[in-house]
Amino acid sequence: MAAITANLYAQHDRAALLENRQATREARWVKVTILGAALTFFAIFLLLPLAVVFVEALAKGWHTYLDALVEPDALSAVTLTLLAALISVPLNLVFGVAAAWAITRFDFRGKQLLITLIDLPFSVSPVVAGLIYVLVFSSHGWIGPWLLEHDIKVIFAVPGIVLATVFVTVPFVARELIPLLQAQGREEEEAAVVLGARGWQVFWHVTLPNVRWALLYGVILSNARAMGEFGAVSVVSGHIRGETNTLPLHVEILYNEYQFAAAFAVASLLALLALVTLAVKSWIEWRAAQAHD
């Protein structure tokens, strides 16, 4: 990541350089056409959908907007969304660190396969991600009868929602850490061990400071996905209002009940979360670029 972000911040000067050189610039009309097409596409597919969320949310005034956010079902959806993220993000943080440590610090057979398997949740349809837990935990599922006997509910209950959220966010932290730790090599840690540092000391004082930005990057991306997941959570939730609704599911219910202003009001909360995520992401890239210089 560091290399890419350093590039990102050198790119403004680079663009000026490339625009001024005979060999690397296009005719003016070509440049205007490319830039025009790219920015029109950007405006239609990214800016307009973002703008329409806020405009529709406020279409019936601030009063309706605020009412939609403080009503009990919305608040319980906020709580459940936070809970799911609060459990899944730390779990996958620990997993990502362990996986990255094993993969980049040791040589073993099947490493490439392991990396591919970690990426798997990204290429599985969210609906299939939800379905697999139904197949395991529902009353017709593998351990469903046992759960029923012990009066434990997983599907159509909070544990199912948490599990589905954990599944879809498995790769984020590992995927940020692996290339970075690979690029940094093992020398620093090996030197620390030779100098007498113990395992956890090496990790806390040598490895962690080197990867903290990538770690934070992975955390905010997995948090955004955890709070915004729809398909997987939708399959396992059962849509019980005030009990098993996360924010995205609450948006769907309001929308299907034709309460458009309320649906967009709740959606605007999630859009704000997305904007904050992008802002933090840009800030991390800026910090990483500064550290690089």
Partner: protein, 279 residues
């Protein structure tokens, strides 16, 4: 990387970190995924075949895969233009554009779905101009395409952009000094370097689009045989408590995901070799 270690391991924690990784991955991802295939294999061959080739399901494959291909193609063209603009040109608001390209990664799909529907519905900002022209986007197959273009947009930009940034200008200068026109330089010097990244971006956008659910179901209208995507078929089977049917369709989608994942890994290895970086 696959050769056996010859030196003693200096660093600690091999057993702990690999053991935890494998256990966690098995419990959360691998065993539940295996459930799909084990469940599907308990069906008779005939029942499985009937479930995955029902006319409505076949129509959904055609829509899901067809629109995902088209959306990935559109994203490849415009993603290249956007990446090119971000690397090569100066323009006001560039940093904002660069940051917002990742919006589809960060914006929950349900929010994208209702926002796009509001835009393209008959009375929406864009729909009101398109419908008089006879172009009906919302509540039909075109709506599916629009949603898939939205969610796949960052993939091509973010795979092509770093390659464009690392591109050495010496190559272009050499081509120009040898008398090549700008277009010839692009076609024969720049494009071959970008090709692996473009194909990787295309494959990533396609893989994401095939399985997409949240952003599509609001705008698609979900008309049987016309605008039902394959993930929706799984949901509708589940709603009828037809677990076997849902599992059969899911196993088809999973096989498609595995194949795409393999293709993407192959493409990325090719790209790494092209860029002279060894893994």
């Amino acid at each position: 990387m696959t050769k056996a270690p010859t030196l003693p391991r200096v660093l600690p924690g091999f057993g702990l970190s690999l053991g935890f990784t494998l256990t966690y991955l098995s419990l959360v991802v691998l065993i539940p995924l295996a459930a799909v295939f084990i469940r599907a294999s308990s069906l008779s061959l005939e029942a499985f075949w009937d479930a995955v080739t029902a006319p409505r399901v076949l129509a959904s494959y055609q829509l899901s895969f067809g629109m995902a291909l088209l959306a990935a193609a559109i994203n490849t063209v415009f993603g290249l233009l956007l990446a090119w603009s971000l690397v090569r040109y100066r323009f006001p608001g560039k940093k904002l554009v660069d940051a917002l390209v990742d919006l589809p990664f960060a914006l929950p799909t349900a929010v994208a779905g209702i926002a796009l529907t509001a835009l393209y519905a008959g009375n929406g900002w864009l729909g009101q101009y398109l419908e008089p022209l006879g172009i009906k986007v919302a509540f039909g197959p075109l709506g599916v395409l629009v949603a898939l273009v939205f969610i796949g947009l960052p993939f091509v930009v973010r795979t092509v952009q770093p390659v464009l940034e690392d591109l050495e200008t010496e190559l272009e200068e050499a081509a120009t000094s040898l008398g090549a026109h700008r277009w010839q330089t692009f076609r024969h010097v720049i494009l071959p370097v970008l090709q692996p990244a473009l194909m990787t971006g295309f494959a990533l956008a396609f893989a994401r689009a095939v399985g997409e659910y949240g952003s599509v179901i609001f705008i698609a209208g979900n008309i049987p045989m016309v605008s039902e995507i394959t993930p929706l078929m799984i949901i509708s089977k589940l709603e009828q408590y037809d677990y076997a049917g849902a599992t059969a369709i899911a196993s088809v989608m999973l096989v498609a995901s595995f194949l795409l994942l393999l293709a993407i890994n192959g493409l990325q290895a090719w790209q790494a070799r092209r860029n002279g970086r060894s893994e």
